[in-house]
Amino acid sequence: MIRPEEIKMSAEETGKWGMVIDQDICTGCQACVAACAMENNITFVGEVDSGYGRSMHWIRIERFWEGEYPEVKMTPQQPMMCQQCGHANCEPVCPAFATVHSQAEQLNLQVYNRCVGTRYCANNCPYQVRAFNWRDYQRPEPLQNQFNPDVTVRRMGVMEKCTFCIQRIHKAQDTAKSEGREVRDGEFTTACAQACPANAIVFGRVDQPESLVSQLKHRRHGVKHLEELGTLPNVTYIKGG
């Protein structure tokens, strides 16, 4: 719960984990999307539902067009996932506390088992990055063998979204703790960042100035989406070359 006087409008002072996404080198190859789906047990929904806006992707790569043929240009690909806002719009509107702010990790949690499916959070998310389980999508035998045991398999009627691979965060912290040290920068990363052939996604601690994300964020001109809404997103986009 954030009281108004606690809201700091500079994102540097909030947040723990963050991402920097370089749109100049993102090729839109969808490797991150596939990696995310494989890591997080995301279901596929088939042709009809995916065309009707019911796909469960936690990342979608946006692109627009500029100009007319032959001067037409594709705008830089823009992978959109949960921005893990420091002051998220989804959190206060959930009547059941199913989407809450993690004080420990500074992430927007989605507690699947608490979700009753009012879909208010998704409605209120300015980034439209939440995916709802519209049906009980089946994955026929033996596809379930691939399920990641560290991630809950969601069923019909609950909301889900990018978690910044919180299972990996926990695992890395657990390992570090068992070895009596802090988590090192780059010791682990999210599934999308790990797969990205262009290294366009970099993940790490935004509250540690020496981490790679912090460096990238400051070295190159990054923007945050819809920052004017005061959401304090933790994903920074680098647009130009």
């Binding site: 090729t27 999307v33 990696a35 494989m38 065309g51 043929y69 594709m74 690909q77 052939p197 262009a198």
Partner: protein, 717 residues
């Protein structure tokens, strides 16, 4: 009352409540509905509750990227890139990620068609014995290489024809053309390797190197180097192609030229650039008139001049590839574009053109068969010269253009398929002897291109086989021994692993390796552990391109079959490629340029669509001289108005529930015309487009309203 209500009782009561809730809500503690089987014998390197990671090689395409697969209690959970593998440095493409959807695909072939392996192996042995060596042919896919070597040993010893390798990807990459052009220009065949990362600017003539071309993960790394480097300015990418590919979408300049004029334009730019630089115009460019070239290519002369300006002021790397080479004049185009590099004097220099390093156990370049050679095979099948055909790792019924008549020719041969999935070829086969999935297999793969080192990538099973499948190498070894004689002598191995170990033994003494080992067994163990063996030094071959500018190239006009009014650009779907359609998550991935999922579409310029009177999602009939397809329209803003494009990858008639009867097969429109290197002129077809009046909504990730303004009201934007 309340004092009797001890805390323990409260917990009990609460528990009772929870149990009731669990029953009512169906999501409480489900313990008693679960069964757990402990290991009978804990596998090596495993420990309870911990994941085990195995290094292996990705088999989704032939590039040979290293994978590390996370397994948990005998199940493969996640495929990651192998960070120690020099080709992909820990990265993967989308197809590599989805490889587990192949492993656990619900529609795999679950056992040999005969029911048991003994009779299956007997049938192979019978074929060896009953047919003359010349009547037996092996058709192999682009991967894996160890099996190719094994079959090579077998055929050589038994006096059969050497195995033929082929894949739709190699066709669309025009590998034969590239190698032939290198031979003509440098006097040495080989797969050129382009050092994109160190270039100042890249002129790509149809090379879709960020998608499927040769080694997309490695080339993407190169692209990042081009764009971002500590030591040089941001490099420029110029893409010359009629239809904007996902690679073209990342380009700073996209030059939409008429298909088949790439060579001409390359020469014209060379001429303009050399004039801008001053000095004598090299001989190779002397016969070109830039104004005419621009006219023929359907672009403004100013556009070519602007590109020439960039060329003149940068050390430019020119890449010929993909659609540009799949034309009747493809070889000339390849030579012209390669020669252009001579202007930048970058042969064998950083940021320039090399010939790819040969793999550790390779002595000379050997490429896949050209489509013309495949046509030769089909001829032989038809004429009865070949009576038994063994197919592994490729589905020619799907991957070859129907016009070649492969399927019809199968009537005359006894077909053995080693397919893991029930593909179109397996459906035609008399015998299906399913191989393991790549993640269940041993093997090695030579990295053909993409990296400066010489790399042999290793595979090992990360999980035990899920179905009653058997390694093809083991089947052939067993059959050869059953057949006896020279067959048995050719393959004197206990099993596949022994064969691989024997082959690797040659590397044991070699220096400069990523690791060394005292004996073969240790070497094999390290080979698996690291996911391969590679040399530490740069093994690229610097080509001799000294004469490149002094030759003369007739970049003649491309020939087109058919009377249609549109050029036709078939391109490999970047997410599905030739064999991804059976993986549901690959189907659900939006196409990088159009964001279409689960289907095929035809890309038509909006202006052309307007002329044809078609809207988005209108089904049109596309017909060439060789076939016709019906599919919905995607009004694609970045394609020439005189060109239409269809992705290759869908339109399966078999291959499992996620692939079957989905979309159309772009290959059905293609003819059997080849370029001088023997590669299919897949771009040399003209098509007609007619409205059918039906509609079929495409599943798009994008909003047609938000991106194109369709249905928003008011003017479209």
């Amino acid at each position: 009352m309340s004092e009797q209500f001890s805390r323990r009782d409260f917990l009990k009561l609460a528990g009772l409540g929870a149990a009731t809730t669990a029953i009512l809500t169906g999501c409480g503690p489900a313990s008693r509905y679960v069964k757990r089987e402990p290991y009978q014998q804990m596998p090596e390197y495993n420990s309870v509750g911990q994941s085990t990671y195995y290094a292996t090689t990705c088999r989704e395409c032939a590039a040979g990227c290293g994978l590390v697969v996370r397994t948990y209690q005998g199940r493969a959970i996640k495929a990651e890139g192998n960070a120690n593998h020099p080709l992909n440095l820990g990265k993967t493409c989308a197809r590599g990620q989805a490889t587990l959807h192949g492993l656990y695909n619900p529609d795999r072939v679950q056992g040999p068609s005969t029911g048991d392996w003994d009779s299956a192996i007997q049938s192979v042995a019978d074929a060896f014995k009953n047919y003359k060596p010349g009547e037996i042919a092996f058709l192999m896919g682009m991967a894996p290489d160890h099996l190719f070597d094994l079959v090579g040993d077998l055929t050589a010893a038994a006096g059969m024809d050497a195995p033929i390798r082929y894949g739709a990807l190699s066709m669309f990459e025009s590998r034969a053309t590239l190698s032939k052009a290198a031979e003509n220009l440098f006097g040495q065949p080989g797969l050129p390797w382009f050092d994109v990362g160190n270039a100042q600017a890249v002129f790509s003539f149809g090379a879709n190197f960020l998608e499927t071309w040769l080694s997309p993960v490695a080339y993407t790394r190169g692209f990042v180097g081009l764009r971002q480097s500590e030591t040089k300015l941001r490099g420029v990418l110029v893409q010359f192609e009629a239809r904007m590919s996902a690679t073209g979408a990342k380009a700073d300049h996209w030059v939409p030229l008429r298909p088949g004029t790439e060579g001409l334009v390359a020469l014209a730019i060379g001429k303009l650039a050399s004039e801008l630089r001053g000095g004598a115009t090299p001989r190779i460019f002397s016969g070109v008139n830039p104004a005419e070239a621009a006219e023929q290519a359907g672009v403004e002369l100013e556009a070519l001049e602007a590109m020439a300006q960039i060329f003149a002021s940068n050390a430019v790397l020119a890449i010929p590839g993909g659609a540009a080479l799949g034309q009747s004049n493809g070889l000339e185009t390849a030579e012209a574009v390669l020669a252009l590099n001579a202007l930048s004097d970058n042969f064998g220099k950083p940021g320039g053109v090399y010939l790819s390093a040969l793999a550790p156990n390779q002595t000379e370049y050997s490429g896949p068969a050209s489509t013309e050679e495949m046509a030769g095979l089909v001829e032989k099948m038809k004429s009865g010269a070949i009576k038994a055909l063994f197919v592994h790792g490729v589905s020619p019924v799907f991957e070859l253009p129907a016009a070649l008549g492969f399927k019809e020719a199968l009537a005359n041969v006894e077909l053995f398929s080693f397919a893991t999935f029930p593909d179109e070829t397996a459906k035609e086969a008399k015998h299906v002897l399913p191989d393991h999935h790549g993640l269940e297999s041993w093997g090695y793969q030579r990295v053909a291109t993409g990296v400066s080192q010489s790399v042999l990538s290793g595979s090992q099973p990360v999980v035990s086989p899920y179905y009653n499948t058997r390694a093809t190498a083991d089947v052939l070894i067993a059959a050869a021994q059953l057949a006896g004689g020279k067959f048995a002598e050719a393959l004197p191995y206990k099993d596949e692993v022994e064969f691989i170990q024997t082959k690797l033994a040659a590397l044991l003494g070699e220096g400069d390796g990523s690791f060394s080992a005292p004996d073969a067994a240790t070497f094999m163990a390290y080979f698996q552990q690291y996911g391969g063996w590679f040399k530490n030094s740069n093994a690229l071959i610097a080509p001799d391109g000294s004469g490149a500018l002094n030759g003369s190239i007739e970049a003649g006009e491309a020939e087109f079959a058919g009377e249609g009014e549109f050029f036709f650009v078939p391109f490999v779907s970047p997410t599905l490629a030739e064999a991804g359609a059976n993986k549901p998550w690959l189907q659900e991935l939006p196409d990088p340029t159009t964001t279409v999922m689960w289907n095929s579409w035809i890309e038509i310029n909006p202006a052309t669509a307007h002329e044809l009177g078609v809207e988005d999602d209108d089904v049109v009939k596309v017909s060439s001289e060789f076939g016709a397809l019906e599919l919905p329209v995607y009004r694609y803003p970045a394609i020439r108005p005189d060109t239409v494009a269809i992705a290759f990858g869908q339109g399966h008639t078999a291959y499992g529930r996620y692939a079957e009867n989905r979309g159309v097969h772009a290959g059905d429109l293609l003819g059997a015309r080849f370029n001088e290197a023997g590669d299919l002129a897949f771009g040399g077809v003209k098509v007609r487009v007619e409205k059918t009046g039906r509609k079929q909504p495409l599943s798009r990730m994008e909003s047609i309203m938000g991106v194109y303004g369709v249905g928003l009201g008011g003017e479209e934007h």
